[in-house]
């Protein structure tokens, strides 16, 4: 044995430690992977040994290898072994390894629960600390559930070091196990006022994170945070609180008003830039006077506005600062203002445009975001020109793509509101096709289609441009990197085909479309090529048949017949299908041509008909045919329980009984949204639809099999310029001239007429500066947007909901019953805190002088989940009790009903005062969600009076008379579960026994025959309970039936208890 130990320690001396491993890796730069794999083999050997020191050393090395990207999950069990070492040194190594590589699906985590619990309660604070740190990284829902109580206890640990860690980890526990939030919250709130600043900061941290997810629930803490904000000197805490207020002010406008003073003080007094910035940010967030339902008095609004202006000015100073960080943050805050106050931002246009030239990409991107809000008809061309310059200069594809989407966003926003010259826009789009390696080819394509379809006047120009694009298509298809951009050809081919009458040289375009090279394009583009070649062919025939020379027409047909077979062989089904159809058609036409028959008219008829834009909502205008009920279910709706299971739990939201109902409409809305999405997709693929927001939809999809088509690579290092294409720049000049001319003309006109009426378009939008109005667009966009007045679906649902509620009410008749007395328990265990009665004045009263003697629990039939508790308060001392507060901490299953507007933890003030030696009664209402279990609402706290409310199942039963025939029917229905109980040694007359059951357990006698009686009762949630009571001598047997077995079992137990007491 001794030999073994000696041998072990000698082995250890030769083991590599972490430093040796690192050194080894650094010395094996050439064959690092090989070296590491031998190291891993060594580690595996070490892990097999019994010596914990060797194991810990191995695990330590594994943690390092994990950082280098090696999967070490195979050693998870060994990590657990090291974690459970009694020595802190090894424990720390184990927990570190676990925090680096354990996650929710690591199965050995199950084994750690007890070890972690042991460490959490360790007398050594660092054991606990290490366990908490590790747990914060790998906590799972199971661990959270099992350890929530242990961690909650640690929140009140004597050492602040443990307290702050325990407080912080609670956030992770809440995330994984939301049920723990309710019981833990009071303690968390307490920690906001912890004497230790670290604990306080941790609590603020956790509550801020919680409030970010659901700010509404934390409004009640605002006064407390307000106090902290004015008293704390810790900048970290202050920043968090100010950020929290930023999230709360939109919900509670009055808060913004209150915050002005302390925030202004901070702005003036602090030297920390970070704090100053957050203050400014929150003032901005709070400044939403127009949007809030609560309008402050005018003077206050003015004050707020001035304060806001001050902050915007401060932002300007930030942006002008030489410190790039401040510049960035200033722009970031500006983008927040942009949403609510675009005008305030517009006044800083110069500055923002300047930032576009910044050498820092982060700052340029931020400035780009802001540009969206500052374009106008006047400056659009100028801004876009600037952006185009950046596009040429940009090195990274991400930044260039960002620029591209921004250009398109800016130009197309609100139905091309700011575009005055669409020729310019088309040429911008064409210029953008020169971009290499962009992912946004489809975006450009959809813009081209949209503009060509909706702006009729531009078609001649657009067709000419597209024809040139098609002619130079080889420039786009040559390079694999440029695959994204070839989507543009889809649009080009379609525009040339559809509006072929505007083509100058259709024959050339037709030839361009039928080049063999086209076969290298993705399938969906080829399909459009083939189809539009047919359209072009039709136009050509018509032109050529007018001539005397028929050979031209025949040559065109021959061209088609020569070229189309290439597409007939395509691997893409759609291309193949369209090509073979058209090929046969052309062959037939050729036959007719040889017989000198005029065919052009008939061929043209194939593609006749003008395209009309269709509004996205036009479908709604189609009347629903008679007898078709769109809301009716086609199949049986899924059962309610199922759909509820699928619903994810609303984390941290107050659970209210209403929720279950509201959810159903949500499900339907989701379904609706899904269908809407599907329809949108369908429309997006249909070029005849005008899309609501062309940028957001992916129009085309990559066809499969493209990779198999051989692609000839052309390496072009020079930026491509498509010959023969106009430059957008020239339009800037032209536009300037046009506007000049217009202005002159307008002045002339204005002299004649004072007022000039313009087409409806421009006036619909409130354009920026007044001078905007003077610029008339050169082309008009068709805007078709008509809406139906209301969404029918949602109103239907409302009706259904109301109906359901009514039905439920009808089921339950109004009746109250009164029963059960229970005396209050003084003091309970410390750990279960539930309810408190607070006496505020006079304070030095010994608590036991006051008591509430009787508690009366009544079910309320009007609402199946409400229970009324009457409490009698008696003042046994000599002092006058002025104010009392009554509070029950909500448990998972029950909740005190509080007046509207009060927070979830506020107590109810008792509406009377108690003179000495008097008693008075008060009522409180509790919501109970599940009634089948008896519950204890108990309490015990510090200087407060503790009490316990005992809710028996019987208190949920309501005496309901029942006729014997109805009773028989109920028993026969077979829905009820059976159970029975036998009582021995009951020494009382049978009618006393029945009376006792009736009194204590709220039953009514249905029928009584000799020593046998049937009884009935109903719960507040409508469960039927039937009893058959028989007696023989001192034995009483009770057979019972109920549709809720748990409830039944508990009621029987309670009956048994009643009789065991006598």
């Amino acid at each position: 044995m001794a030999l073994k130990i000696v041998k072990g320690s000698i082995d250890r001396m030769f083991d590599k430690n972490l430093q040796d491993l690192v050194r080894g890796i650094r010395n094996h730069k050439e064959d690092e992977a090989k070296y590491i794999s031998t190291c891993i083999d060594e580690i595996k050997q070490e892990l097999k040994q019994d010596n914990i020191a060797v194991k810990a050393n191995a695990v330590c090395k594994l943690t390092y290898l994990q950082m280098l990207g090696y999967d070490v999950s195979w050693a998870a069990f060994n990590i657990v072994e090291v974690m459970s070492s009694s020595k802190f040194t090894y424990k720390r190594i184990g927990y570190l390894a676990a925090s680096q590589c354990f996650h929710e699906s690591t199965d050995v985590i199950m084994l750690t629960t007890n070890q972690i619990r042991k460490d959490l309660s360790s007398p050594n604070q660092y054991d606990t600390g290490v366990a908490l740190t590790g747990l914060s990284c790998f906590v799972t829902p199971d661990l959270a559930r099992d350890l929530a109580n242990d961690i909650m206890t640690l929140m009140s640990h004597t050492k602040p070091y443990i307290r702050k860690k325990a407080v912080l980890i609670m956030y992770k526990v809440f995330l994984k196990y939301p049920e723990s939030l309710r019981p833990a919250f009071p303690r968390l709130k307490e920690k906001l006022e912890d004497p230790d600043p670290g604990v306080q900061s941790a609590a603020v941290n956790v509550i801020c994170e919680l409030a970010r997810r659901n700010p509404k629930n934390y409004l009640s803490l605002a006064p407390l945070f307000f106090k902290l904000m004015t008293s704390s000197t810790n900048n970290w805490v202050l920043i968090k609180i100010i950020k929290l207020f930023g999230a709360l002010t939109p919900l509670e406008p009055r808060l913004g008003k209150k915050l002005i003073e302390p925030l202004t003080n901070l702005i003036h007094s602090t030297s920390a830039m970070s704090l100053l910035y957050e203050c400014v940010n929150t003032v901005i967030a709070g400044h939403d006077v127009n949007g809030s339902p609560f309008l402050p008095p005018f003077s206050l609004a003015l004050f707020l506005f001035l304060r806001f202006q001050l902050c915007v000015q401060k932002l300007r100073i930030l942006i002008e600062d030489s410190d790039q960080n401040l510049k960035y943050l200033g722009l970031l805050a500006m983008s927040k203002i942009l949403k609510t106050h675009p005008k305030s931002v517009q006044s800083h246009k110069d500055l923002i445009l300047q930032c576009l030239d910044d050498k820092d990409e982060s700052i340029r991107l931020r400035a780009l975001d802001l540009l969206y809000g500052m374009v106008s008809k006047k400056n659009l061309m100028e801004i876009v020109k600037k952006l185009m310059l950046h596009v040429d200069k940009a090195e990274g594809t991400t930044y260039r793509d960002e620029l591209l989407t921004k250009i398109i966003d800016i130009c197309s926003q609100s139905n091309y509101q700011y575009i005055t010259n669409f020729e310019w826009y088309i040429s911008i789009l064409v210029e953008l096709t020169r971009l290499e390696g962009t992912r946004h080819g489809h975006l450009i394509a959809s813009q081209m289609l949209d503009v060509a379809i909706r702006v009729k006047a531009i078609r001649v120009f657009a067709v000419a441009q597209m024809a040139t694009l098609l002619d130079n298509a080889h420039l786009m298809t040559g390079n694999v990197q440029r695959k994204g951009i070839c989507e543009v050809l889809y649009a080009a081919a379609w525009i040339c085909g559809e509006f072929s009458e505007h083509l100058e040289n259709p024959m050339q375009t037709l030839e361009a479309m039928l080049r063999p090279k086209v076969a290298t394009l993705p399938g969906h583009i080829q399909a459009v090529y083939v189809q539009n070649a047919a359209k072009l062919f039709a136009t050509l025939l018509k032109n050529q048949e007018g001539n005397t020379d028929r050979t031209a027409a025949q040559e065109t047909s021959q061209l088609m017949i020569d070229r189309l077979p290439l597409f007939v062989q395509s691997a893409n089904l759609e291309v193949q299908e369209r090509a073979s159809c058209i090929l046969q058609l052309v062959k037939y036409i050729q036959k007719l041509q040889q017989k000198d028959v005029e065919v052009a008219e008939e061929v043209i008829a194939l593609f006749a008909g003008e395209l009309n834009p269709v509004a996205p909502k036009a479908q709604k205008k189609v009347p629903v045919p008679e007898g078709l009920d769109l809301d009716a279910w086609i199949n049986e709706p899924p059962s309610e329980s199922e759909s509820e299971d699928e619903q994810p739990k609303a984390i941290f939201a107050k659970e209210e009984p209403k929720h279950s109902r509201a959810r159903h409409t949500e499900v339907d809305e989701k379904e609706l949204a899904k269908r809407r999405e599907a329809r949108k997709q369908e429309q997006a693929n249909n070029p005849f639809y005008i899309k609501a927001s062309p940028s957001s939809q992916k129009v085309y999809q990559e066809a499969p099999g493209v990779e198999h088509i051989p692609v000839v690579q052309i390496d072009l290092s020079v930026p491509l310029k498509v010959p023969g294409l106009p430059m957008s720049d020239q339009y800037v000049k032209l536009e300037e001239e046009r506007r000049q001319k217009e202005r002159v003309e307008k002045k002339k006109k204005e002299k004649k007429k004072r007022k000039e009426k313009r087409g409806g378009r421009g006036k619909k939008h409130d354009s920026g500066p007044e001078s905007e109005e003077d610029i008339t667009p050169a082309h008009m966009v068709d805007i078709v947007t008509e809406e139906m007045p209301e969404d029918k679906k949602s109103s239907k649902h409302k009706k259904k909901k109301q109906k359901r509620e009514k039905e439920e009410k009808e089921k339950k008749k109004k009746k109250k019953h009164h029963h059960h007395h229970h005396h209050s328990d003084g003091g309970g265990e410390e750990s279960v805190q539930n309810g408190t009665v607070e006496e505020e004045e006079p304070l030095p009263v010994s608590v036991c002088h006051q008591s509430f003697t009787e508690i009366d629990i009544q079910g309320n039939l009007q609402d199946g989940s409400q229970v009324v508790v009457s409490v009698i308060f008696e003042n046994k001392c000599d002092n006058f009790l002025k104010t009392m507060e009554f509070n029950v901490l909500d448990s998972l299953n029950s909740k005190l009903q509080r007046p509207e507007g009060s927070g979830p933890h506020d107590g109810l003030s008792v509406p009377f005062q108690l003179p000495p030696e008097t008693r008075s009664s008060g009522t409180l209402r509790l919501s109970v969600f599940v009634i089948v279990f008896p519950q204890n609402e108990d309490s015990s706290t510090h200087e407060k009076l503790d009490f316990k409310l005992h809710f028996t199942c019987s208190s949920y039963l309501i005496t309901t008379p029942c006729y014997s025939d109805a009773f028989a029917k109920l028993l026969e229905s077979g829905d009820l579960k059976c159970s029975s109980v036998r009582l021995e040694g009951v020494n009382m007359p049978f009618h006393h026994l029945l009376a006792r059951i009736c009194f204590h357990h709220h039953f009514s006698v249905v029928e009584r025959i000799d020593s046998c009686a049937s009884m009935y009762s109903r719960s507040i949630q409508g469960h039927h309970v039937c009893l058959l009571v028989k007696t023989s001598g001192q034995t009483v047997s009770i057979d019972a039936k109920c549709d809720e077995p748990t409830l039944l079992g508990n009621v029987l137990d309670e009956i048994k208890q009643t009789f065991s007491q006598c």
Partner: protein, 155 residues
């Protein structure tokens, strides 16, 4: 919340990686590579913030970094953290390292990554800032190290 803390050198070699959200080892390496790529191409006198890459991030996340000699310290955080605050935190982190290692250099981090982890654990826990006071951090780290030493002696 802090999503990840990365330290790597001028060549992109990781010196410490701490993810407060689970990723597979491969993804972690990709994130480190991508972050290095994003951060290293930036000039010296530009701002310390940038949008996250494709793998880590999303619109709410931001990379906040500082460059010290041969090392980059990168924090990936969401909008609940103050940008300037995190910059200060990085400074506190580096100063703490400097005190604990006495004139810290890259080699200290290379050979003692476990110690760096232990120091970090006293500052950030589960993605939330635990302590920002340097003296408090050093006190806790020191007394834990003392405990380790006493165990070596007794064991």
């Amino acid at each position: 919340m802090i999503k990840a803390i990365l330290i790597f050198n001028n060549h992109g070699k990781p010196r410490l990686s701490k993810f407060y959200e689970h990723y597979s080892e491969d993804t972690e390496q990709q994130i480190i590579r991508e972050t290095f790529h994003l951060v290293s191409k930036r000039d010296e006198n530009v701002c310390n913030f940038l949008e996250g890459g494709m793998l880590i991030g999303g619109s709410d996340y931001r990379l906040i970094y500082r460059h010290y000699a041969t090392l980059y310290f990168v924090f990936c955080v969401d909008s609940s953290e103050s940008e300037l605050g995190i910059l200060d935190l990085i400074q506190v982190f580096v100063e703490t390292l400097d005190k604990c290692f006495e004139n810290v250099c890259e080699l200290d981090l290379i050979f003692h990554v476990d110690k760096v982890h232990n120091i970090l654990a006293e500052m950030v826990m589960g993605g939330m800032v635990l302590e920002t006071n340097m003296n408090e951090i050093i006190t806790q780290v020191d007394s834990q190290n003392k405990m380790e030493k006493s165990e070596v002696l007794t064991g």
